[in-house]
Each structure stands twice: as structure tokens, then as C-alpha cells.
């Protein structure tokens, strides 16, 4: 059983990586969860998980002819399987985004929930592939016009590839944002439900500095509790029943052979 979610936002700074790991840790209480840093151009999941010095990362898996097994880039951390991505520009340039499909297919075969921390951009093939490959998206928003506007764009891109919205998360919300009204209005435009409203949190910054996911660093912080509630609202669906089918599903998800 697997469902792959792209955790996406059109805009940077919404706390997408924090959200991905928080959902991942919360879902890991009931599921086998794999978290992948699919933001190959601006990776930062490694910093949130204390994997700054990981010897093998997703970049290594995306380089043509590299003699590295997918498992070599999988690290057991905080109750999840974590696949970090490196930060070197040279490695990003050498990486073939197409190979993400095979990596995702292989990872999907061995897990229940796959969370793809997706780039905060839509301007390149590598940025869009995670929402192409995923079954559904979780869109991370902030109650600002640019974040909502970019969230709408991500949703339309994803829908163009048949990837529906599982729900939205309002992150880094402050008291003065009038979030109830904003969330209610936003629900008319976004698929799924508002999974959660996460308060702005100093703990999230501190967690990042400590190299830990928020839920590990400050499990009782209001933001952590809100993330756990959000994870409960996310209904994980059964994907293909056999692992072989799962792999095929992702392999056939994109068929852009060079012509």
C-alpha cells in the first residue's frame, strides 16, 4: 500500500520542509513513512534532520551511471525513512530529473506513505516532476496574497497532471491574520479540506537550528500539536495492492522518452 503526496507551495518561506517532516513524523505513528527531499535545486531537508554530512543523497541517485543503490540514500531517522538531497550545485547540474521517477517507484514499493518535499517553484521540469509523480498534493499556504496566489498556481499545475489536492495547511499563522475567514474563503478554491492551521512558532526555527524536525524538538509546542491534528485529517488511501504494481504505476506516470 502506498500513497505519494507532494508537499508543495508555490512560494518559498512557507515552511514546507518543516511541514513535510511534521506530517511525516505524525503519520509515522500509524504508517511506514518515507520522506524525500525532492527539492533538488534548493535542498534543505538534510539540515532539518541532522543529515548535513549524509554520504549518499538523492543527488547521487539522479546521476546517470552512478553505482549507488536507492537504499544507500535512505536513512532511518525520527521513526521515518528519510532521503535527503545534497546542496552542491555541480551535483544538481549533473542530475537527471527523469531518474526521480525510478527512484520514487523503488521507494514507493517499500513504504506506506511517501512524502515528497517539493520545490517552491514551477519553472523547470525538475521542479514540476514531484507533483506529476505524486498521487495527491498537500499545499502549504500562508494567509498572504502571494502565497495563496502561488498555491492556486501549484494546484492548477498539479491538476493538469491529474494530481488532485488532498488538502491545505495554513502555516506560520499569526493571531492578527483573521485566519478563520481566510481559510473559509480559501476552501472554495482549493481541493480537499483545510487540514490544519499552524501558528507561527519560534520552536520551528529552533528545531531547524538543532537539526531536528519540529515534532522531535518541541513535541508539545502548539505548532506541533496542530501538525499532529492535521495529519489525522489527512486520509491516506490505499494505493496499488502489490508492490510491483506500485512501481509500475510510478514508472508509467511519466513517459516522456526523448524523441
Amino acid at each position: 500500500m502506498v500513497e505519494a503526496f507532494a508537499v508543495a507551495s508555490g512560494k518559498g518561506g512557507t515552511g514546507k520542509t518543516t511541514s513535510t517532516l511534521a506530517l511525516g513524523m505524525a503519520l509515522a505513528e500509524d504508517h511506514d513513512v518515507t520522506v524525500v527531499d525532492a527539492d533538488t535545486g534548493m535542498a534543505n531537508l538534510l539540515f532539518h534532520t541532522g543529515l548535513d554530512d549524509a554520504p549518499v543523497t538523492l543527488h547521487d541517485l539522479l546521476i546517470d551511471g552512478a553505482a549507488v543503490a536507492v537504499d544507500d540514500a535512505v536513512y532511518e531517522r525520527f521513526g521515518m525513512k528519510v532521503v535527503p538531497c545534497g546542496t552542491e550545485l555541480a551535483a544538481f547540474r549533473a542530475a537527471d530529473p527523469e531518474r526521480l521517477r525510478d527512484v520514487v517507484a523503488e521507494l514507493a514499493a517499500g513504504t506506506d506513505v511517501l512524502l515528497l518535499d517539493s520545490p517552491a517553484a514551477l519553472g523547470s521540469k525538475s521542479a514540476v516532476l514531484p507533483v506529476v509523480l505524486a498521487d495527491r498534493t498537500v499545499i502549504v499556504l500562508q494567509p498572504t496574497i502571494p502565497a495563496l496566489s502561488d498555491g492556486l498556481k501549484v494546484q492548477e499545475y498539479a491538476r493538469s497532471y491529474g494530481t488532485e489536492t488532498a488538502g491545505t495547511l495554513f502555516n506560520r499563522v499569526r493571531d492578527e491574520d483573521g485566519i478563520e475567514r481566510v481559510a473559509e474563503q480559501a476552501e472554495r478554491y482549493f481541493g480537499g479540506e483545510t487540514l490544519g492551521v499552524i501558528p507561527e512558532s519560534d520552536a520551528a526555527r529552533a528545531a531547524r537550528t538543532a537539526g531536528e524536525p519540529l515534532l522531535a524538538h518541541a513535541p508539545d509546542a502548539p505548532a506541533s500539536r496542530a501538525f499532529r491534528e492535521a495529519a489525522k485529517r489527512l486520509d491516506v488511501r490505499d494505493g496499488a495492492s502489490e508492490s510491483g504494481d506500485v512501481a509500475d504505476r510510478f514508472r508509467s506516470a511519466v513517459v516522456p522518452e526523448e524523441v
Binding site: K11, L122, I145, L152, Y157, Y189, P256
Partner: protein, 178 residues
């Protein structure tokens, strides 16, 4: 919009228009900024946006390309950047007549919200704004944005078209959901 030419005090390319807004605010500048988005792919070469300031607080917005003013002008200008920006200073009296154009007015915090998504700057700008400027629904800009169904549909429609055009560019058309 007619504005007397001011004294150029700064001319540069910025990734974040918030930089310019913060400069104007910190200097309590009366004058105007001319924003020219560098993203020539999406906009015509001639696109320019003018934003006027009264003692550092944004007052009017106008987009030359679309001939729209106020919040619409900010929407026309908003983009990924970078922007080429010229910042000019004027005497209060020079802008008095221009500032009578109510149809070009923007809520004080809206430029920082719309162009920079910088909520601290929105708050600082609102704090600096005179009370009579805060009555025009500034706190509800996000709600107003979401209430504009036609505007939202336009964003979605544009994104759909863009997604399809780029899918072709990237060889992803087979993955599109028809």
C-alpha cells in the same frame, strides 16, 4: 497619473520590491518609485509601475502597461522579480494634486503585502500610516483577494495554460490529464 519629476535618490535592480518599500518607509520619503519588472517573458517591455509615497507610506499605484490603478496596478506588477527601481523625492506640495486621484489609491499595507509578502513590513507601514488612511479595509486585503472570484479564476486559467505550454516544452505532454 501626472507627477512632477523628482530628485532621483536611488536607482537599482532589486529581487524584492520590499527593499524599496522599506527604504521609502525608513526615510519617511515623500515622492515616488518607478518599478520596472525585468521579466520580459510575461510582460511587455514597456511595463512600468509607479507608486507614490507620503512620508514613507504608499499612497497611489498605477501601471502604465495596463492603464490600471490602485490594487489592480499592484496585481499587474506583482511577479517573481527582479525589478529595476528608481526612487525619487519630491516636496509634499508637488504631490498634493496627484494624490487627489482617489481611483488610484491603495491601502497603505497593500504594496508590501502584494509585492513583497512581507508581513512585518505591512505592519510597520500600517503603524506609520495616519489614522485616516487605515479606514479603507487594509486589514482585509487577503479576504478581499479571495472574495474576487473572477480574479481567482483568472489566476487559475493562466496557470492551466502555462502548465500545458510548459508540459510541451519539457516533454511531459503524455503525463497530462486530459
Amino acid at each position: 497619473m501626472k507627477i512632477p519629476r523628482g530628485d532621483l535618490i536611488r536607482s537599482r535592480v532589486v529581487d524584492d520590491p520590499g527593499t524599496t518599500l522599506a527604504t521609502a518607509l525608513d526615510r519617511r520619503l515623500t515622492g515616488y518609485a518607478v518599478f520596472e519588472p525585468q521579466d520580459a517573458v510575461l510582460l511587455g517591455d514597456e511595463t512600468r509601475g509607479v507608486l507614490t509615497f507620503e512620508a514613507g507610506v504608499p499612497t497611489l499605484a498605477y501601471c502604465t502597461d495596463t492603464d490600471r490603478g490602485g490594487a489592480d496596478a499592484l496585481n499587474d506588477l506583482a511577479g517573481p522579480g527582479p525589478y529595476s527601481v528608481d526612487l525619487y523625492e519630491l516636496d509634499d506640495a508637488d504631490l498634493a494634486e496627484t494624490h487627489e486621484a482617489d481611483d488610484l489609491r491603495v491601502p497603505p499595507g497593500l504594496p508590501a503585502e502584494r509585492l513583497a509578502a512581507n508581513r512585518d513590513l505591512v505592519t510597520r507601514t500600517r503603524e506609520a500610516a495616519p489614522d485616516e488612511r487605515l479606514g479603507d479595509g487594509d486589514g482585509d486585503t487577503v479576504a478581499a483577494f479571495l472574495a474576487d472570484e473572477a480574479g481567482i479564476e483568472a489566476i487559475r486559467e493562466q496557470a492551466r495554460e502555462e502548465a500545458r505550454a510548459r508540459a510541451e516544452e519539457w516533454g511531459l505532454t503524455d503525463a497530462l490529464d486530459d
